[in-house]
């Protein structure tokens, strides 16, 4: 580990340390299995996390992401107020694929940055990124999202992933995200990603031709949430409304809060036809008219959500449209 302190982090030195690391790993692999190690890198993953974030859990998440999305990971730990300080260390994340003899390794660079040093972050991170590969910023800090340096950090990224469920004001967050998207920043929001599997369930329901034929009867959509599902609820309402509009169906959308444990539900109803999806803990209860079906739908962890987001490094037209609609919908209700 090398601490750079106020002098900053010379990228040449970090890159030299990385090169030395590969030589060492190669020699170790050669000595242990006679096959060396394989370096794998398909993207740059910049993780911005608060010092209070569970470091061990985050390390586990990143390690679990690497086999599918091998990356040069630049982990930025936000140390908060204090002196203008930056520090770094270089290490590797290796694994042995099942049934194979050669280790696969990904490189990681850990940087600690105080709030005062955040303005320098862009100039530190960019030279450290593996060339010609996308830079994905995963910002886990709700605090950073509202800070001025976040704009510069977002602009250096190919894609920025946030989790708006952790943000205090859902409506304001949606507006800010929609503004960023309009400004050309490619975004991902884990609050939206959490909806994928059950949006899929709703879509699958309407693969049934009988139900699809009844779509035109729907006149109202009600989304009810409680707990951390606020932005997810607005996304869900906006997405359903957009899809219905595509099918030529005009429905009134109401998003409201419920009570009890954290939950989310969506109901599409009209003309004697009713579809309801209710998420309660790890279950999704699907009701069509009077027939109820319960399916297991565990809450996806950060690793699963990020796997999905890292797999989409291009414009996601459905999300972009939903984000814009959700922001409009949220403010229309004020």
């Amino acid at each position: 580990m090398a601490a750079a302190g106020a002098e900053g982090i010379p990228p040449e030195r970090v890159l030299r340390e990385l090169a030395d690391l590969w030589i060492t790993l190669g020699k170790q692999g050669e000595a242990e299995s006679g096959t060396g190690v394989l370096r794998a890198c398909t993207l740059n993953l910049v993780v911005l996390a608060e010092a209070s974030d569970d470091a061990a859990a985050l390390e586990e998440t990143i390690a679990a992401l690497m086999p599918e999305h091998p990356a040069r990971t630049i982990m930025v730990k936000l140390s908060g107020a204090g002196e203008r300080a930056l520090a770094e260390r270089v290490y590797a994340q290796c694994w042995m694929p099942f049934g194979q003899r050669r280790q696969i390794c990904c490189e990681q660079i850990a940087i600690t940055a105080s709030d005062a040093a955040l303005a320098d972050l862009e100039s530190v991170v960019l030279p450290l990124a593996a060339p010609d590969l996308p830079v994905i910023v995963w910002s886990r800090s709700a605090r950073l999202f509202e800070m001025p340096p976040f704009g510069a950090i977002a602009r250096m990224a190919t894609k920025v992933v946030v989790d708006s469920a952790a943000f205090a004001d859902a409506k304001r967050t949606l507006r800010l995200l929609a503004e960023m998207a309009r400004g050309g920043i490619l975004l991902g929001d884990l609050a939206w990603t959490r909806l994928t599997r059950w949006r899929e369930m709703l879509a699958r329901l309407f693969e049934n031709r009988n139900y699809l034929a009844k779509l035109a009867r729907i006149s109202g959509v009600r989304v009810t949430y409680y707990g951390e599902f606020a932005t997810s609820a607005w996304y869900m309402g906006a997405w359903v409304a957009d899809a219905l509009r595509d099918a030529g169906v005009s429905a009134q959308v109401v998003v409201g809060t419920g009570s009890g444990p954290p939950s989310l539900s969506v109901e599409l109803a009209g003309g004697g036809f009713r579809v309801e999806l209710v998420r309660q803990q790890d279950r999704l209860i699907i009701t069509v008219d009077n027939a109820e079906n319960c399916t297991n739908l565990p809450q996806p962890g950060d690793c699963l959500l990020m796997r999905e987001e890292l797999g989409i490094v291009r414009r996601d037209a459905v999300f972009e449209r939903t984000l814009a609609s959700a922001a409009r919908l949220a403010y229309a209700t004020d």
């Binding site: 794998a40 091998p70 994928t196 031709r209 030529g248 297991n296 989409i312 037209a317």
Partner: protein, 506 residues
């Protein structure tokens, strides 16, 4: 035209099968137990199947639905390599399994099947869609298709498709006859001839590699490519399939279908779109461009082999003629090597060496494209000669790509040494790859025939292979001509040496 489902999000949602019933003829057979049922269960496990999904197994043994379910559970437990049995998922999947006992020759079977399909459609909401999978003896393919047609099951409320396993005939005439009889009931567009090699991720990756990248296409022709080697080696023998194998042989069992399809994927012209018709049109054109050899050319450009007994890895290994169920005088080829030529502007004069065999030193399937040497050797000539530029596409095991080229050895002096730039498919994408049968079954249910073989492709490959078969049939080979555990007969090495080439030892 009805309205489309407005809730679909193809970027994020997984590909899902529409509702249907799969009818498997030969439901007690090896293929069903080892491949089909584990693949279908995995699709259910991954939530790729619709709720309106059912399987109707057909075989002669009398079984109840529950007995069939128990039997299939045992098969899935035994043969699912990387899928855990989840009790709830299995219970939901098993509720959609049904069984009908009967003889394929018996018209009454198809009446009972019709009744079962109607009942299952009501119970499981399969939408009248049915995929008939013939996992039977090849001699029963036409019987089953005609039986379905006779009972009016070839057409129905939804779509009807027929999946046929190889071999698609044993020569050109029988392939045409089989297609003709299948077409009495099913249109060609509803006949899915399955070649599980084409469902392998790495075979599909050849298409991605060739047509998703711009840098390789300029090097993909006679000007730069010296020759191509396609190897499908197996270390095992016939493993109890001696009786079947001695009727087929390596040439018909592997080269006529799997390896010519792989070769077509390597050598075909770029497609205008990734649609079934475009891809299959180009493959068909390539197969039709292959030179059908005269008898003299066959003798110069092909080698048949059969393994004899040997001691491999400290163990005695039987020769082919000593295998159970094999005629002690069997003339069957367990090894085949052929030099093919493609007569088009891209490949004229470039040899495609294709070989396959049983009881070779290791199990490996790969394609090696050897490039011409640099026109002038300004460095160490020996190094350049002994280490040509090679692009190697490994299909199994350790799927991936390697590019071999020369590099300066560190230190004083200009000494070159070969280095390998590797892309390992499994490690660069740690995600589990679906099995070939998962991919192909899902494709068939969804009506995507891109990876299936069309009638004209089958006929074109028989047109190339049949002249070789004819010469081999009339030739008295001195079998066995290679020892188990070696890389095949010496004649195969000589075939390449005549053009100044040598087989790779993968």
């Amino acid at each position: 035209m009805g309205i489309e489902n407005p809730f679909q999000d193809p970027l994020r949602f997984e590909r899902q099968a529409p509702e249907c019933a799969i009818v498997i003829f030969g439901a007690n057979g090896d293929l069903t137990r080892r491949k089909l049922m584990p693949a279908l269960y995995r699709l259910a496990y991954d939530r790729r199947l619709s709720a309106g999904f059912a399987v109707i197994g057909i075989s002669r043994t009398a079984l109840s639905d529950d007995q069939f379910r128990d039997k299939m559970l045992e098969s899935v437990k035994q043969f699912s390599e990387d899928t855990a049995i989840d009790a709830e998922v299995w219970a939901a999947f098993a509720r959609g399994l049904y069984y009908v006992a009967g003889d394929i020759n018996d018209a009454a079977l198809y009446q009972r099947l019709g009744q079962k399909l109607t009942a299952v459609e009501t119970e499981r909401h399969t939408g009248g869609n049915a995929l008939f999978y013939l996992s039977t003896q090849p001699s029963q393919y036409a019987l089953a298709a005609l039986g379905l047609g006779g009972a009016g099951l070839g057409k129905g409320g939804g779509w009807r498709r027929l999946v046929v396993e190889k071999p698609f005939g044993h020569d050109l005439a029988s392939a045409r006859e089989l297609s003709g009889r299948l077409h009495q009931v099913f249109d060609e567009s509803d006949v899915y001839r399955i070649d599980h090699y084409l469902g392998k991720e790495t075979v599909q990756n050849i298409l991605a590699f060739r047509f998703g990248n711009g840098i390789f296409e300029p090097l993909w022709n006679r000007r730069y490519v010296n020759h191509v080697q396609i190897t499908a080696a197996e270390s095992i023998g016939v493993e109890g399939r001696g009786a079947y194998y001695q009727e087929a042989g390596a040439l018909a069992d592997m080269i006529q279908n799997h390896l010519l399809q792989v070769m077509a994927t390597i050598a075909m012209e770029p497609v205008a779109s990734f649609r079934a018709m475009s891809v299959r049109d180009e493959k068909s054109k390539l197969l039709r461009s292959m030179r059908a050899m005269t008898p003299d050319e066959v003798r110069r450009n092909s080698v048949a082999g059969q393994y004899g007994p040997a001691r491999v890895g400290g163990q005695d290994v039987a020769g082919f003629r000593q295998e159970p169920g094999v005629d002690p005088q069997s003339p069957t080829d367990t090894y085949a090597a052929v030099t093919f030529f493609v007569e088009n502007w891209r490949w004229a004069g470039v040899p495609f060496y294709v070989r396959t065999g049983k009881r070779l030193p290791k199990r490996v399937t790969e394609i090696a494209i050897q490039y011409n040497p640099a026109p002038l050797h300004i460095f160490d000539e020996d190094a350049a000669e002994s280490a040509p530029n090679l692009l190697i596409m490994r299909i199994q095991p350790e799927e991936g790509l390697s590019l071999k080229f020369l590099s300066k050895r560190p230190g004083a002096g200009m000494t070159l040494r070969p280095v390998s730039m590797d892309f390992n498919y499994g490690s660069s994408f740690g995600e589990r790859s679906p099995s070939a049968y998962e991919t192909l079954l899902l494709d068939a249910i969804m009506g995507d025939a891109t990876l299936y073989t069309r009638q004209d492709m089958v006929e074109a490959s028989w047109s190339v292979v049949e002249p070789i078969q004819n010469v081999w049939r009339e030739t008295k080979f001195d079998f066995p001509n290679y020892a188990a555990g070696t890389w095949g007969p010496a004649a195969a090495d000589e075939m390449l040496a005549r053009r100044g080439h040598a087989w790779r030892k993968p």
